[in-house]
C-alpha cells in the first residue's frame, strides 16, 4: 500500500462491527471491503446521518502511515429506507418484495 501514501483517495466499504469509537475529539473506525481488506479511518468532523456499523460508507482523504485520514465521509441513503425489524415482520407475513 506504500505507493498509495499521501495520495487523495476514495475508499468504499462497510464499517466494521464494534469498531466505531469517539477518541480525543475524532471518530475512529475500521472499513472493510468485499475481500475482507480493512483500513483504519480517522475522521475529525461530524459523521453524517446513516453512518452505522455494518453499513455502507464512502470515505475520501489521504493514507498517512497506514491510517486513512478522511476529509469527506458519505453515507448512502435509500428511498426505500426501512428498519430491519419491519423488514423481518413483512418477510414473516410473506409480503416482502425486496431482496
Amino acid at each position: 500500500m506504500n505507493e498509495l501514501e499521501n495520495k487523495y483517495l476514495r475508499v468504499g466499504g462497510l464499517v466494521k462491527e464494534n469498531s466505531l469509537k469517539f477518541i480525543d475529539g475524532s471518530w475512529v473506525f475500521e472499513v472493510i471491503d468485499q475481500n475482507k481488506n480493512s483500513i483504519n479511518v480517522v475522521f475529525s468532523k461530524t459523521l453524517p446521518n446513516l453512518v452505522e456499523e455494518k453499513k455502507g460508507i464512502i470515505v475520501e482523504g489521504k493514507l498517512v502511515n497506514n491510517t486513512f485520514i478522511a476529509e469527506i465521509v458519505l453515507a448512502k441513503h435509500d428511498e426505500n429506507y426501512m428498519p430491519q425489524s419491519a423488514i423481518d415482520k413483512l418477510k414473516e407475513e410473506g409480503k416482502w418484495r425486496g431482496d
Partner: protein, 610 residues
C-alpha cells in the same frame, strides 16, 4: 377500495387511449380535442388518488404502508406519495398530462398530442407492470406504517422533486414539437416561437429544481455540499446544459432564419437526456450517494422507452443530415457566436455525460472499477466554461447578420480585468480566485458599460442582461466559498471551560443543552454562541431521534453574517463531553442569491410576452 379504484382508472385510461388511436372513440366523442382533454384528465387521476390514499393513511395499500407512518405530520404524509419509486413515476405521468392539458390550450394539432399521450402511456404501463402502486394488502389494525425515511423529512422534499420533474418533463413539448416539425417539414416561425417559450418554462423549473436540490444537499450532512459531481446531480445538469444551448439556438432560428434543423435536432435530445437520467439513477447502474431500490424489470422497461425515443430521434437526425449545410452566415456575426455558445454547451454536456457513464463502461467492458470524481470535472468542465464566460461579455452586443463596427473597448476591458485580477491575487494570494476574477471581469465591466449605451432596453434586454450577470456573480461566489472556507472542531469537556477561542479571534461559548419531544421525533439540541465581545450569534445544532425507527439524524444549524454563514453540527454528545463541528462558509449566500437572480431572469423573459 382505493386499490380497486386506482387500477380501474388505469384500465379506463388504457382503453380510451387504444380506442382513440384506432379512431373508434370518434364515434362516441366527435371532437378529437375533447377526447384528448378527457384522456389527459383521466391520466391525472391515479396520482391524485395516491395522494389521497397517503393523506388518509389508507393502509390497505402496500405503498402507503411502506412509505408513511400514522403519526407523520399530514404535510409529510401527502408528500410521501413521491417518496417511493412507484409514486415518483406516477408523478411523471401526472406531469406529462398536466403539460399536455396546458399545451392543448395553445396548440390543437392532434398528431403532436398523440405523441404526448403515447409517451405518457408508456410510463403508465411501466409503473403498473414493474411495480404497481395500487397493490392491495389486507387491512390490519396493527399496521401503523413504516414511515418516510427521516432524512427525507425536510421541507425541500416537498418542493424539490416536483420542481425538478416539471423541468425534466417540460422538455417533452420541445421534443414532440421538434419531431412534428421535422416529420411534416413545417418550419414556420410560429412553431419555433412556441418551442422557445416551452423550453424556457422547462428551463425555469429545471434551474429552480437543481438549485433547490443543491441547497438541500448543502444543508444535509454527508451529501457532499452544494455541488459534488455525484451522478444524481450530473444527470440533472445534462438536460440543463442542452436546454440552455437550445434556448440560444432557437433565438437564431427565430431572428435570422438559420440553424433551424440544428435547433430541432437539439430539441429532441433535451428530452432524451431527461429520460436517460431517470433511467440511470432508477436502474442503479451507477453508484451514487443517492441509491434507489433495484429491480431488473424497471431497468429493462426504461431501456424500451429510451430505445423508442432514441430510434425516433436518430431516424429524424438521418433525414435532416443532408440539409444541415443550408445555413449560411458571416463568421463575425451574432449567429456564429451563438453557434459557438451551442458548441460549448453541448461539449460540456458531453463532458458530464462521459464522466457519469464511464465508470459503468469501464466496469462492464474493461472489468476494472473506476470512480470519476471532482478533479476530472473541475478540469474539463472549467476548461470549457472559461472561454464561454469570456465570450458572454462581448457576444450580446454583436449584431445579427454581419458585424460591422469594431469594439474599441475590448482591449481596455481585458487589460482592466487583468489588473483587477492581479490586484486580487496580491490581496487574497489565491490563484483560482484571481483566475475567476479575470474570467468574469469583462462580464461585470461590460454589464455596467452597456447600461449607459443607447441599446434598446426592454424586458428582453434586462432578462438577458440579468441572466448573464448572475452567472458571473455565481462563479465568483462559488470559487470564493470553495477556496476560503475553513472549519474547526470544538470539544467541550464537562469539567473545563465552556468557552473556546476561534481562529478569527471570536469566542465560541456553549450554553444549555435541550431535550424536547415532537410529534414523531425527539430533539436534543445544543445552544452555541459565537461572540466577538459585542455581538452574539446563536446556533442550535441538534440530533433528532425518529419514531418508529429509532434512527438518529444530525441536523445542521446555520447563522448568517451578511453573505457568509456559520454552519454547525454536533459531532458527539455524551455525559462528559460535547463535540461541535463549526464551518465558516464565506459568500455562500451570494451563491444562492445569484441562483435566484438567474431563475428570476428567465421568469422575466417568460412573462414579457403577456
Amino acid at each position: 377500495m382505493i386499490s380497486l379504484f386506482g387500477n380501474g382508472i388505469v384500465y379506463v385510461s388504457l382503453i380510451l387511449t387504444v380506442l382513440f388511436y384506432v379512431k373508434l372513440l370518434k364515434k362516441l366523442i366527435p371532437s378529437e380535442v375533447l377526447s384528448l382533454r378527457i384522456i389527459y384528465f383521466i391520466n391525472l387521476l391515479p396520482f391524485i388518488l395516491l395522494i389521497y390514499a397517503f393523506s388518509i393513511s389508507d393502509f390497505t395499500l402496500l405503498n402507503v404502508i411502506e412509505n408513511s407512518y400514522i403519526d407523520d405530520p399530514l404535510f409529510y404524509k401527502v408528500t410521501s406519495a413521491w417518496g417511493s419509486h412507484e409514486g415518483s413515476i406516477l408523478l411523471w405521468v401526472f406531469l406529462i398530462n398536466l403539460f399536455g392539458i396546458f399545451f392543448l390550450n395553445k396548440n390543437h394539432t392532434v398528431e403532436i398530442h398523440k405523441n404526448i399521450i403515447f409517451i405518457s402511456t408508456l410510463f403508465l404501463l411501466y409503473v403498473m407492470i414493474s411495480s404497481n402502486p395500487f397493490t392491495y394488502i389486507e387491512a390490519n389494525e396493527e399496521i401503523l406504517g413504516l414511515g418516510l425515511n427521516p432524512i427525507l423529512q425536510h421541507f425541500l422534499f416537498v418542493i424539490h422533486p416536483p420542481t425538478l420533474f416539471l423541468g425534466y418533463i417540460g422538455l417533452i413539448i420541445p421534443f414532440v414539437l421538434s419531431a412534428h416539425m421535422l416529420i411534416k417539414k413545417d418550419f414556420s416561425e410560429k412553431l419555433f416561437e412556441e418551442m422557445l417559450i416551452w423550453s424556457k418554462i422547462s428551463w425555469f423549473f429545471l434551474t429552480a429544481g437543481i438549485v433547490l436540490g443543491s441547497y438541500w444537499a448543502y444543508s444535509e450532512l454527508g451529501w457532499g455540499g452544494w455541488w459534488f459531481w455525484d451522478p444524481v446531480e450530473n444527470i440533472s445538469l445534462i438536460p440543463w446544459l442542452l436546454n440552455t444551448a437550445l434556448i440560444h439556438s432557437l433565438k437564431v432560428s427565430i431572428k435570422s432564419n438559420q440553424l433551424k434543423l440544428w435547433s430541432l435536432n437539439l430539441g429532441l435530445y433535451c428530452f432524451i437526456a431527461s429520460v436517460f437520467g431517470t433511467f440511470l439513477v432508477r436502474s442503479n447502474l451507477i453508484v451514487s450517494v443517492h441509491s434507489f431500490a433495484t429491480d431488473p424489470l424497471r431497468g429493462l422497461f426504461l431501456i424500451i422507452i429510451i430505445g423508442y425515443l432514441l430510434a425516433m430521434t436518430v431516424r429524424l437526425n438521418i433525414k435532416s443530415i443532408s440539409n444541415f449545410n443550408e445555413d449560411s452566415f458571416d463568421l463575425f456575426s451574432k449567429e456564429s457566436f451563438l453557434l459557438l455558445n451551442n458548441i460549448f454547451f453541448i461539449c460540456s454536456a458531453l463532458v458530464v455525460f462521459i464522466g457519469t457513464v464511464y465508470p459503468l463502461f469501464s466496469e462492464m467492458i474493461l472489468e476494472t472499477s473506476v470512480s470519476v470524481g471532482a478533479p476530472y470535472y473541475n478540469f474539463a468542465f472549467n476548461l470549457l466554461l472559461a472561454p464561454l464566460i469570456l465570450f458572454m461579455a462581448f457576444a450580446p452586443q454583436i449584431s445579427w447578420g454581419k458585424h460591422e463596427k469594431k469594439d474599441k473597448q475590448l482591449p481596455y476591458i481585458l487589460v482592466l480585468s487583468l489588473v483587477i485580477s492581479l490586484l486580487s491575487f496580491y490581496l487574497f494570494e489565491n490563484f483560482y480566485f484571481a483566475l475567476s476574477v479575470f474570467i468574469t471581469g469583462p462580464l461585470f465591466i461590460k454589464s455596467i458599460l452597456v447600461l449607459n449605451t443607447n441599446v434598446k432596453k426592454n424586458l428582453n434586454f434586462y432578462s438577458q442582461w440579468l441572466a448573464h450577470l448572475s452567472i458571473g456573480v455565481f462563479i465568483i461566489a462559488a470559487v470564493y466559498t470553495e477556496q476560503f472556507d475553513y472549519e474547526e472542531n470544538l470539544l467541550f469537556e464537562k469539567n473545563s471551560s465552556n468557552e473556546i477561542a476561534l481562529q478569527n479571534n471570536k469566542i465560541a461559548i456553549i450554553k444549555n443543552i435541550k431535550d424536547e419531544s415532537f410529534q414523531n421525533y425527539q430533539r436534543i439540541s445544543v445552544d452555541l454562541l459565537i461572540s466577538d465581545g459585542q455581538q452574539n450569534r446563536q446556533l442550535s445544532p441538534s440530533k433528532n431521534i425518529y419514531q418508529p425507527s429509532g434512527q438518529v439524524t444530525n441536523e445542521v444549524n446555520t447563522t448568517n453574517v451578511l453573505f457568509s454563514q456559520y454552519y454547525a453540527t454536533i459531532s458527539t454528545i455524551e455525559s462528559d463531553q460535547v463535540g461541535i463541528n463549526l464551518v465558516y462558509k464565506p459568500f455562500i449566500n451570494l451563491l444562492w442569491l445569484s441562483s435566484i437572480m438567474l431563475i428570476f431572469s428567465i421568469f422575466l423573459s417568460i412573462v414579457k410576452r403577456k
